[in-house]
C-alpha cells in the first residue's frame, strides 16, 4: 500500500521568488521522513508540491519531477484530483468541515469517490477513528458537530478523515504546532503507529519532535536540501556546518 516518493530537481517559484531551488530526495515507504529548517526555507512549499496543492495558486510554477512509485505526478495524464486520493494531507491548523458532523467529515470524500456505502461506510468510519485513536472519545456522538471537539481531537479527526480515502502517502504540515503538549504527544504516538502502513512526510519546526517521530530527517535551508539522512545521525553527527548550527540553535 505505502509507496515511495522521489523528487528530481524539484523547483517551485512564486512569480520571481524561488522557494524551492532543485531538490532531489527519496522518501521511503513505511517510514517517517521529517523536514526541518528555519522559517521561509521552503519546507512547506516542498511538501505541498508532493500532492500538487500548488495547482490552486495561480502564481506558482513547479518544475522537475515528483515520482509516486515510478510515475511522475506532474506528467501528462495525471489528474491532480485522483493523485490527492493517493497522497493525503494534514494541515497545520485543524480544519474539520464546520457544516458537517464528525461522521460526515469522514464519509464526505469516500462517499464522493464511491469507496464505500452502507455498512461498509460505517465500518470505515469506525476503523479510521480507531486508527486515529479517537474512536472511544467520539463513538457516542458521531452525529455531533466536529467544531465541538477540542483542538487535539479536531486534528485527530482530520487525520482520520485523510485516512478514510485510503492514501498511500500522508503529508503532514506541522500537524501539532497549534496544539498543547498533551495533544501533541498523542499526535506523535499516532504518527509512530501509522508508519507501519503509510509513507509519512512531516514538516516540523520542533526539532525534538523530528528526533522523536522520524526515521530520516531532511534539513532545508534557503530552498535547498542541505542534508538528508538517518535521524539519529543527523542529530548526533551532522556533516554540514549549517545543519549543526541549526540543530544546536545557533540560527533559525
Amino acid at each position: 500500500m505505502a509507496e515511495q516518493m522521489t523528487t528530481r530537481d524539484l523547483k517551485v517559484s512564486f512569480g520571481d521568488q524561488h522557494a524551492v531551488k532543485g531538490v532531489d530526495m527519496e522518501i521511503r515507504p513505511r517510514a517517517v521522513t521529517a523536514i526541518i529548517g528555519p522559517s521561509g526555507c521552503g519546507k512547506t512549499t516542498f511538501l505541498r508540491a508532493l500532492n500538487r496543492m500548488h495547482d490552486h495558486t495561480p502564481s506558482a510554477r513547479v518544475s522537475g519531477e515528483v515520482l509516486l512509485g515510478d510515475r511522475n505526478i506532474y506528467g501528462d495524464g495525471v489528474d491532480p484530483v485522483d493523485l490527492r486520493i493517493r497522497v493525503g494531507m494534514v494541515f497545520q491548523r485543524p480544519n474539520p468541515f464546520p457544516t458537517m458532523s464528525i461522521r460526515d467529515n469522514i464519509t464526505f470524500a469516500p462517499k464522493r469517490h464511491g469507496l464505500a456505502k452502507g455498512k461498509a461506510l460505517d465500518d470505515l468510519v469506525e476503523r479510521v477513528l480507531h486508527q486515529a485513536a479517537l474512536w472511544d472519545e467520539v463513538k457516542d456522538r458521531l452525529g455531533a458537530s466536529a467544531m465541538g471537539l477540542s483542538g487535539g481531537q479536531q486534528q485527530r479527526l482530520c487525520i482520520a478523515r485523510a485516512l478514510a480515502v485510503e492514501p498511500q502517502v500522508l503529508l503532514m504540515d506541522e500537524p501539532a504546532s497549534a496544539l498543547d503538549p498533551t495533544a501533541t504527544q498523542r499526535i506523535e504516538e499516532l504518527i509512530y503507529d501509522l508508519k507501519k502502513d503509510y509513507t509519512i512526510v512531516i514538516v516540523t519546526h520542533n526539532m525534538q519532535q523530528a528526533a522523536r517521530v522520524s526515521d530520516r530527517t531532511a534539513f532545508f535551508y534557503m530552498g535547498l536540501l542541505v542534508e538528508f539522512g538517518e535521524t539519529d545521525r543527523i542529530f548526533t553527527n551532522p556533516r554540514e556546518e549549517r545543519t549543526e548550527a541549526y540543530i544546536t540553535g545557533r540560527f533559525g
Binding site: 500532492n51 496543492m53 490552486h56 495561480p58 484530483v81 485522483d82 493523485l83 490527492r84 486520493i85 493525503g88 494531507m89 494541515f91 491548523r93 480544519n95 474539520p96 468541515f97 464546520p98 457544516t99 464526505f108 470524500a109 464522493r112 469517490h113 458537530s145 466536529a146 467544531m147 465541538g148 471537539l149 482530520c158 478523515r161 485523510a162 480515502v165
Partner: protein, 292 residues
C-alpha cells in the same frame, strides 16, 4: 515638577481629551439623526396601520371608494406571487453569478461581472421596469405578473450576486484546501464545502434583496400594473401592495388613505416575517457550526 514645561503639556493633554469627546459626541449625534427617522417611520406605520387593519382588509377584494369597506386580499396574494417568482428566477442566477465571481472570477469575465453587478445594484428601479416592459409586456401585448417578476428579478440578481460573492470569500482558504487534499474537485469543493459554510450570509443577502424588491413600486407600474380582481394567472395584470399603496395614497378619499396605511403595515410585517422564518431556520445550523 518643572512648571514651565508641564503646563503646556497639561494643556495639550486637555485639548486632546476635548477633541476625543467632541468626536464621540459628533458620532452620537449622527447616530441619533440616522436612527430617529427610522424609528419614527416604524412607529407611524405600525401606529396608524394597526388602527385601519381588519379581517376584511386582509380577506376581501377592493370596493369602489364610494361604497366603502373592502380589502386588499388580491394585492397581498399578488405581492407574494410576484416577489416569489422574482426570487425563484433571481436566486439561482444571483447565487451562481456570485459563485463564479468568488471562486472562478480571477479573469476579465469575472472582473466585468463584478463591475456590472455593482452598476446594476445601483440601477434606478424604474429602468428595470422599462426593460421588463420592452422585453415582455410589449411582446405579450399585455401587463402581467410575470413581467413584474422579471423587473424585480433584475434588481434582485445583482444584490444576491454581490452578497454571495462576499459570503464565499469569507470562507477561509483552509476549508477549500482540506477538501482539495481529499481528492475532491474544485466544483465539488465549491458546492459541498464552501457554499454550505457560507449559506448563512448568502441567506442574509437574499433577505436583504427580498426586502428591497418587496417594497418596489416603480418597476411594477407598467409591468404587473394593477387589478381590482383576484389574480387570473401569471400572464395577467396583477395587483401588488406597493402599487396599491401608491394608487390609494394619491387618491382623494380619506378611507383609501387609511387602507394605504394598513397596506404599508402588511408589507412591513411580511418582510419581517420572512426574515424571522429564514433566521430561525438558519439558527439551528449556525449553532451546529459553532459546535453545539
Amino acid at each position: 515638577m518643572d512648571t514651565a514645561s508641564s503646563r503646556p503639556r497639561g494643556l495639550r493633554l486637555r485639548l486632546r481629551h476635548l477633541r476625543d469627546r467632541l468626536l464621540v459626541t459628533l458620532c452620537l449625534v449622527a447616530l441619533v439623526l440616522a436612527v430617529v427617522p427610522l424609528v419614527w417611520v416604524l412607529w407611524e406605520v405600525v401606529g396608524v396601520g394597526v388602527r385601519h387593519l381588519s379581517w376584511e382588509f386582509l380577506t376581501t377584494l377592493p370596493r369602489p371608494p364610494t361604497v366603502g369597506g373592502g380589502g386588499w386580499a388580491n394585492a397581498i396574494v399578488g405581492s407574494v406571487v410576484v416577489v416569489g417568482m422574482a426570487m425563484l428566477m433571481g436566486a439561482p442566477v444571483g447565487i451562481a453569478t456570485g459563485i463564479y465571481m468568488s471562486e472562478y472570477g480571477d479573469n476579465p469575465l469575472g472582473k466585468s461581472a463584478r463591475f456590472l453587478s455593482e452598476v446594476l445594484a445601483g440601477l434606478p428601479s424604474i429602468v428595470a421596469g422599462i426593460v421588463a416592459y420592452g422585453l415582455i409586456v410589449v411582446t405579450m401585448g399585455r401587463f402581467s405578473a410575470v413581467s413584474g417578476a422579471v423587473a424585480l428579478a433584475l434588481l434582485f440578481i445583482p444584490i444576491v450576486a454581490i452578497t454571495t460573492q462576499e459570503a464565499l470569500k469569507m470562507v477561509p482558504g483552509h476549508q477549500r484546501e482540506a477538501s482539495y487534499a481529499l481528492g475532491v474537485s474544485e466544483a465539488g469543493t465549491t458546492l459541498s464545502v464552501v457554499l454550505p459554510a457560507a449559506m448563512g450570509n448568502v441567506l442574509t443577502g437574499i433577505m436583504i434583496a427580498t426586502a428591497r424588491i418587496a417594497g418596489e413600486t416603480a418597476p411594477l407600474l407598467f409591468t404587473a400594473f394593477n387589478s381590482r380582481y383576484w389574480m387570473e394567472g401569471i400572464d395577467r395584470p396583477t395587483a401588488t401592495i406597493p402599487v396599491n399603496i401608491y394608487a390609494y395614497a394619491i387618491s382623494p378619499f380619506e378611507h383609501w388613505h387609511q387602507q394605504a396605511w394598513a397596506g404599508a403595515l402588511v408589507l412591513l410585517a411580511m418582510v419581517l416575517a420572512l426574515n424571522a422564518v429564514a433566521r430561525s431556520l438558519w439558527a439551528r445550523r449556525a449553532r451546529f457550526m459553532a459546535g453545539h
